[in-house]
Homo-oligomer: 396 residues x 2
């Protein structure tokens, strides 16, 4: 079976790299990042954020009736850049460029596709991210909020997107589509604003966090909280907790990937490497491979923002009201769930729970699994295998 999987991944890698090559070299869709600000946002927890600013971008044209809108909601370590390139010579396009663009599954010749950065985005220091969170300046003090920033939930992410759409006069979503944490927002949209949402697509998602996943998420928070530089969230005048953040990003990277793909990409473990035998704190090529990219990305991230994102995900129960069933009872949209068979982070049983409940309520959720060897990342890298399913769901 593993040989078959290795063959399949080789095939996928080939297809993907060919696909990317063909599409990015010929005619990149150029996009620009915009900013949206509004004031006095009251969180689900009842706290007021005096000013919220988030980035957004769009692909395709809004029609006169403003009824051709598809909202894309992003994953934990992602941002609004779902498709296209900011400049023709960008190395990579947005993460779902394979399915968003002219003539693609989410067809920008037909739809106005919009995506925004969430509150407390993981990478506030990435120049392409615009977000509001603990690293933002608290107008009351002139200093970064730190842990004074209110705890926010997936519903708050949705409510901020609602404000953005309202500001553009958009009152109907042809579809909302998201992967991973984006899937939680997509489902929450269909509950918070059931009359606005016609179609909901949950990719590598869940209806509610279970105890096992809540615990798994907590481990992402711990390295940051243990880092002495974290200083109970008050570090904006000094050194950031970058070693803790690096450990957290490395953990997310490893857990989002399936062993088959990680073992293909990482260096082969050495037998009795001298450095590793000399000290338990010495690294190895395998560990260098994992930690190097995390260390590079760490300065763009913010430790507190990661803690807030962890908490937002831990608190997710679709609808945030009583239980999953009562939340799902409000859904009016057509729904499609696309978990990944080999996902080790949000395993398919989580999507199945939502599907089972929607079926029990007499709704007709669609369910298909994404096959692949990327694990959780199949929601990004193997999504072309569901392009036809997506297109049919969105256009029918």
């Amino acid at each position: 079976m593993q040989r078959t999987m290795i063959f399949i991944v080789s095939l996928f890698t080939l297809l993907l790299s060919y696909g990317c090559h063909a599409q990015t070299e010929t005619e990149p869709m150029l996009v620009e990042k915009n900013s949206f600000t509004f004031t006095d946002y009251t969180t689900l927890g009842g706290e007021v954020i005096p000013e919220v600013t988030v980035g957004w971008e769009s692909y395709g044209e809004l029609n006169a009736d403003k009824d051709n809108v598809i909202l894309i909601t992003h994953f934990f370590s992602g941002n609004s850049h779902a498709a296209g390139k900011y400049a023709a010579d960008d190395v990579l396009p947005g993460y779902w460029d394979a399915i968003i663009g002219p003539g693609k599954a989410i067809d920008t010749n037909k739809y106005f596709v919009i995506s925004s950065d969430t509150l407390v985005n993981a990478f506030p220091h990435d120049p392409n991210v615009i977000t509001t969170g603990p690293a933002s300046i608290n107008p009351a003090t002139g200093e970064p909020y730190g842990l004074d920033f209110p705890v926010v939930t997936i519903r708050d992410f949705v409510n901020v997107q609602y404000e953005l759409l309202q500001s553009m006069g958009i009152t109907k979503l042809h579809a909302v589509v998201g992967a991973s944490m984006g899937s939680l927002q997509a489902l929450e949209w269909s509950i918070a604003y059931p009359d606005m949402v016609e179609r909901m697509v949950s990719v590598i998602g869940a209806g509610a966090m279970d105890a096992w996943t809540i615990m798994a998420l907590e481990h992402w928070a711990r390295p940051i909280r243990h880092d002495p530089n974290w200083n109970n969230g008050d570090y904006y005048d000094g050194e950031a907790p970058l070693t803790g953040v690096t450990s957290t990003l490395a953990m997310i990277t490893q857990q989002a990937m399936h062993p088959v793909i990680m073992n293909l990409r990482a260096p082969k473990p050495e037998v009795l490497p001298q450095a590793a035998l000399e000290s338990v704190t010495n690294s190895t090529p395998v560990l260098d491979y994992l930690f190097a990219s995390s260390a590079t990305r760490a300065p763009l991230a913010d430790g507190n923002h990661l803690l807030y994102l962890v908490r937002a995900n831990q608190l997710f129960v679709a609808g945030h009201n009583n239980d999953l069933a009562s939340g799902l009872a409000k859904v009016k949209a057509k729904t499609l769930f696309l978990p990944a068979t080999n996902d080790l982070l949000l395993q398919p049983y989580l999507a199945k729970q939502a599907v089972t409940e929607l079926e029990r309520q007499g709704k007709a959720p669609q369910y298909e699994e994404i096959e692949g060897v990327w694990g959780h990342l199949d929601g990004l890298f193997s999504i072309p295998s569901k392009a036809a399913t997506l297109k049919a769901f969105i256009e029918e």
Copy 2:
């Protein structure tokens, strides 16, 4: 499918609790902990440990020919206490008591079963553990070794057990049986001393660590290394890095369990719990459930010992020589591999790799998967389902 699994686990829990009840209430096998010391041990890395002391215990009687010996090698967070009770009123017997005892799969009426604590055991402050590691006194300085203790490997664990057996005049093992890290030792035994080992049983095991698992293990080390009290391993005069150790133990606990069993046992996640909404550092009942037991056990563990154990596991390639194939080429024992289908920590592909290579070499490894909902812990809690397989393998 999940409902079926829940039914199965209920059945298992019932059977297990009945089994334990029946066996421990009637006639517990009483065992005692012994200690073995020898001097000037040279590690695989070429360093000398002036004095090594490890604990051991045994069940059954050594026969006159000393050829009825079965060695049990323990898992990462385990110790020599594989079966029986130290006192009649002990709450729990040793971890594999269901399969070790008079008339059981590993029949102490026939075999002399012996188990020892490893070097750098995770819980050196557990009064029932006797081990040598970074927390031990370095005779050269009169102070704990800390990171001056040499890095040790699974082969070193095996070599220390070899010294123990030699001291008793034992030159033949009817079988060596181990779970998880114990399975690495069992396999290593069959390569380091191929003429001594007649049968090898690897439960929830691997032939070599792959990049993905080496990375997963590294995450266990990080919370300890981030804890300011760790102080680069030099903390024996001050506060131990207990918060880091607690995070590490909690991570191990969660990853060793499958979501089905964890979700059955943990509290149900609350919807919008007030404390969790007030601060990202506030806990929830789900997190309390996970961390409370880890915090209780943390003072018995040692941060440095955990780092050394992580490194020993990361360095494992059976035979520690060139590659897995050349290691396995030395195996003369009959072999049995029992991975757990739902194991998320050492997934069955790891055991399959060793089995595939042994088959390629014309040997005849036996392979069966343990079904269950415990995940990695099926190697402990669902092992009764393989009692007949084990008994047949050991006695034929």
